[in-house]
């Protein structure tokens, strides 16, 4: 029998006097003890569908259709009834473990609050249950962790606490909205394993929202593929993966970054290199601000990158990848030589470095955050030209049009603002902004991580084409090992500021020497936890 069922659900948002539809007539149900995955790219309406079940949408949302839980109609139900369901019968896990926990409350307090609200447990009783829950979600030494604040936990631990909170009242249905997207691959594998085990032991149903088909294959009994607010295909997981019917499903399944980068000629000149690069942040204590130790964000990093070559930097969050990139761009202070085009720019003032900035450019992760929302695309792209005095107004316009054609955006759209573009288009704009200066070195800081899989494939292809055409040197930072493999000639594996392994891409991926690298690769390619690896 079905636990939760959606019947012709329509959700639209009020906007500027009109209604813009987000979900257009979705029907499916979740049976007892079953895992249903909602899959789709960003903007397909999968989160909106899930959140509408217990009316967690903003006030501007208009919900039509019918949502029933155990035969009870939820669409239009009173706030009091819904509150009884939320967190008790239906629990949620959200994407961001950093912001879903209140930073001012201890772990114990946050968990005990839920127990108090829904079960009336307090004091010793509550504490016992909290410890039990923390043990259940695999937190080591739960007694010692009770008084910890969220910032004292790692991302994976925080997500485990979130899961413990969701499970506290023994829910019948768990709605997980991209619960692992913000986590590192190794942690992601652990959390998924945990969720699967818990679901089996507690017999609850799960509605799992994700864009990652790899996860779906591991976890879900049935799949609903969403596109533009509609379910285009649904069925048993195995059938969908083995014989997809709808072209969109086929496209999603085919969206894998494949291939290898073009080889580099042996005589290619070195564009940038560093030796023993260190970025240490002092820890100061006491009245006199005495330095008692250092946070070693990057410790003794060493690499060199030649024209037309890509050096991939991989590692989990907090391993110092981005810090290394910012230091190479001279955007933060560091120690040790930073050699760009044969000049050691370490210690140069910002003014001295400025002329060199045309030769070294950076593309950031977040295509939404890296473009100034109040400038038109042509202003954004042309800004660097103005700074470096490359051409007057008319030729800047020509350069902008040329570069927009090159990265695959219609130049006619150059007078629009960034918010009118999709994530992939924005990332192309960001690449155009960097490329318009014709740099020799391009630092790419997770340029594909915030994008949908299908868009990722296109961006990787674009980067590859640009590299071959302009003999670009890439410093490519990513936690996504599949993308790194498709782009990199050489790979550096970083862990807590140290380089644990470095070498040719083929060698690292096919025969990783370090256990850490092995764990990363297992997690990334098989979504499995590698036993015995300390991560």
């Amino acid at each position: 029998m079905s636990l939760l069922s959606f019947e012709n659900l329509r959700v639209s948002f009020k906007q500027d006097g009109g209604l813009s539809p987000a979900v257009k007539g979705v029907s499916f149900d979740v049976k007892k003890g079953e895992t249903v995955a909602l899959v789709g790219e960003s903007g397909s309406g999968k989160s909106v569908t899930a959140l509408s079940s217990v009316s967690l949408l903003p006030d501007s949302a208009v919900i039509e259709g019918s949502i029933t839980y155990n035969g009870q109609e939820l669409c239009g139900a009173s706030e009091t009834d819904l509150r009884k369901l939320r967190g008790n019968d239906i629990s949620f896990i959200f994407q961001e473990p950093m912001t879903s926990l209140n930073p001012l409350h201890t772990i114990e307090k946050q968990l005990a609050e839920i127990l108090l609200v829904h079960q009336g447990l307090r004091g010793q009783e509550a504490q016992t249950r909290v410890i039990e829950l923390l043990t259940q979600v695999g937190i080591h030494d739960p007694e010692g962790r009770l008084k910890d604040y969220p910032h004292q936990l790692s991302g994976g631990q925080r997500q485990r606490v979130m899961i413990a909170m969701a499970l506290a009242n023994g829910p019948d249905l768990l709605i997980a909205d991209e619960p692992t997207t913000a986590l590192d691959v190794t942690i992601q594998a652990q959390v998924l394993t945990l969720l699967r085990d818990l679901q089996a032991s507690m017999g609850m149903s799960m509605l799992f929202i994700t864009h990652d088909l790899g996860i779906v294959r591991k976890l879900a009994d049935r799949v609903c593929v969403m596109k533009d607010g509609e379910i285009v295909e649904s069925g048993v997981t195995k059938d969908i993966f083995d014989a997809p019917q709808h072209p969109y499903t086929k496209m999603l399944l085919d969206a894998e970054t494949v291939g290898y980068p073009a080889p580099v000629p042996d005589d290619a000149p070195v564009i940038a290199e560093t030796k023993d690069l260190r970025i240490w942040f002092p820890i100061q204590r006491g009245l006199m601000r005495r330095t008692v130790g250092y946070v070693k964000a990057v410790n003794a990093a060493e690499f060199s990158v030649r024209a037309g070559e890509t050096v991939g930097v991989v590692g989990e969050s907090g391993s110092g990848k981005t810090t290394l990139a910012l230091a190479m761009m001279r955007l933060i202070e560091s120690e040790g030589p930073v050699v760009v085009l044969g000049k050691d720019v370490q210690g140069w003032s910002q003014k001295q470095v400025r002329p060199l900035r045309a030769d070294m450019q950076i593309v950031f992760q977040d295509p939404f955050g890296s473009l100034s929302p109040r400038m038109t695309v042509s202003e954004i792209i042309a800004e660097g030209l103005g700074v470096h005095g490359l051409g007057d107004y008319a030729s800047a316009e020509v350069a902008v049009i040329e570069i927009m054609n090159e990265v695959g955006i219609d130049p006619e759209t150059r007078n629009r603002y960034p918010h009118e573009f999709s994530g992939g288009q924005r990332q192309r704009i960001a690449i155009a902004r960097a490329m318009v200066l014709r740099p020799k070195l391009l630092v790419l800081d997770e340029p594909t991580s915030a994008l949908d899989k299908t868009v990722q494939v296109q961006i990787v292809a674009l980067l590859r084409a640009l590299q071959v055409k302009h003999k670009l040197a890439y410093l490519f930072i990513s936690h996504d090992l599949k993308v790194v493999r498709a782009l990199s000639h050489k790979v550096i594996v970083m862990k807590r500021g140290d380089i644990v392994e470095a070498g040719d891409a083929a060698q690292i991926f096919d025969a990783p020497a370090e256990p850490y690298t092995q764990a990363l690769i297992t997690a990334a390619f098989d979504l499995a936890v590698k036993e015995g690896a300390e991560v």
């Binding site: 009020k14 006097g17 955007l331 109040r374 470096h388």
Partner: protein, 368 residues
């Protein structure tokens, strides 16, 4: 200049708030009218025709001798003698019987001789803010057909004083708001953008500065330099600018780690350009929502200083001073009511407008 889509949306949102839109129109109307207060309430005519030529007494100085009088001081147009001189073309008889001559001159002939008739156009209210109203009765005198809102305790027309007082309050508030926001934004921007030591030192300076007792400084400065409008504006700005600094600083601290700011730095854009082209537009939302408090605060500051007697020089019209008079003359309730309603209407209109602006800038608010 084309409004960006975002600002177009804000303007649409603002327009959909009827109360705010009406308040804006009414307030703008009142303010524009009060800018032309000299043509509405004045003790000089707007236009005079005398012996075929035109005179504009509001803009120019004309001695009485110009119109055939005796004194070389400025003509006092409201005196019957001067009025008679202008209307009859400068007949000497005016000094003996001005009313009779004026009656006689209506047909253009006095004592069988044709005269050059003249005329004067008076403002609606024939008093300026400092005109002494002549007539029977002790000051403050109650409202009459002549003085719509009565007179104050030195026999000056209250209506005229309200119009001029309204203008000076708004101008004062605008001047203080514009200048102190500009200083506050720059200061906050520098603090937030550079952060670190600059921020630390600046914060301490601000703490010391904002704990200085403003009232004492005003009293001391006025005692030494004498009271004046611009000195008061200066001193108010001196203590008013930190109001915005905190907000702008916080916005800049947040924005300086945004990726598009980093991208601009990686492009080699200079610090000032980054601050004012890339970051300021972000801080503007917070700034605009804070502005109402500064503006109404400035009006309140002026009112309370005037009320205490440390505000504008006595030669200027002031609503706060009228409030103080109302307190001392409880037997003359028209003073109190006038002051109360003037402030109530002025501040309510401003609050309604700013409420609309704040809602229009709120990205989460939806409008039907």
């Amino acid at each position: 200049m084309r409004l960006s889509p975002l600002n177009q949306r804000r303007w649409r949102n603002f327009k959909s708030n009827r109360r705010a839109l009406w308040s804006l129109w009414i307030f703008t109307g009142l303010f524009v009218l009060s800018l032309f207060a000299e043509f509405i309430a004045n003790d000089k005519p707007i236009l005079v025709q005398y012996r075929g030529s035109y005179y504009t007494p509001i803009f120019n100085f004309y001695p009485e001798t110009e119109f055939g009088g005796d004194f070389r001081t400025e003509a006092v147009y409201r005196y019957a003698e001067v009025e008679c001189l202008i209307k009859s073309g400068g007949l000497v008889d005016c000094f003996d019987d001005p009313e009779g001559v004026m009656d006689d001159a209506k047909d253009g002939i006095v004592n069988d001789e044709p005269i050059e008739k003249g005329w004067m156009i008076w403002p609606v209210i024939p008093y300026s803010f400092n005109t002494q109203v002549e007539g029977p009765g002790a000051a403050p005198s109650p409202p009459t057909m002549q003085n719509w809102l009565g007179t104050d305790d030195t026999k000056r027309d209250v209506t005229a004083r309200v119009i001029y007082g309204f203008r000076i309050s708004i101008l004062f508030a605008l001047a203080v708001t514009v200048v102190s926001s500009a200083i506050g934004i720059v200061a906050g921007a520098i603090q937030g953008y550079f952060g670190g030591r600059v921020d630390l030192i600046f914060q301490r300076v601000l703490e010391i500065w904002s704990s200085t007792p403003q009232l004492y400084v005003i009293i001391i400065v006025f005692a030494i330099l004498g009271r004046s409008f611009w000195l008061l504006v200066f001193v108010t700005i001196l203590f008013g600018w930190p109001a915005l600094t905190g907000v702008v600083r916080a916005e800049f601290l947040r924005a300086r780690n945004f990726e598009y700011i980093r991208a601009a730095r990686a492009l080699g854009v200079s610090n000032w350009t980054i601050m004012f082209r890339h970051m300021l537009p972000n801080a503007m939302v917070a700034t605009v929502t804070m502005l109402p408090f500064i503006m109404t605060g400035a009006i309140g500051t002026l009112a309370s200083l005037d009320f205490l007697g440390f505000g504008l020089p006595t030669s200027l019209p002031s609503l706060g001073e009228m409030t103080a008079q109302a307190k001392q003359n409880l037997q003359a309730p028209w003073l109190g009511f006038t002051a109360f309603f003037t402030y109530a209407i002025m501040l309510s209109l401003l609050v309604f407008i700013f409420e609309g602006i704040r809602d229009a800038f709120d990205p989460r608010k939806t409008f039907q």
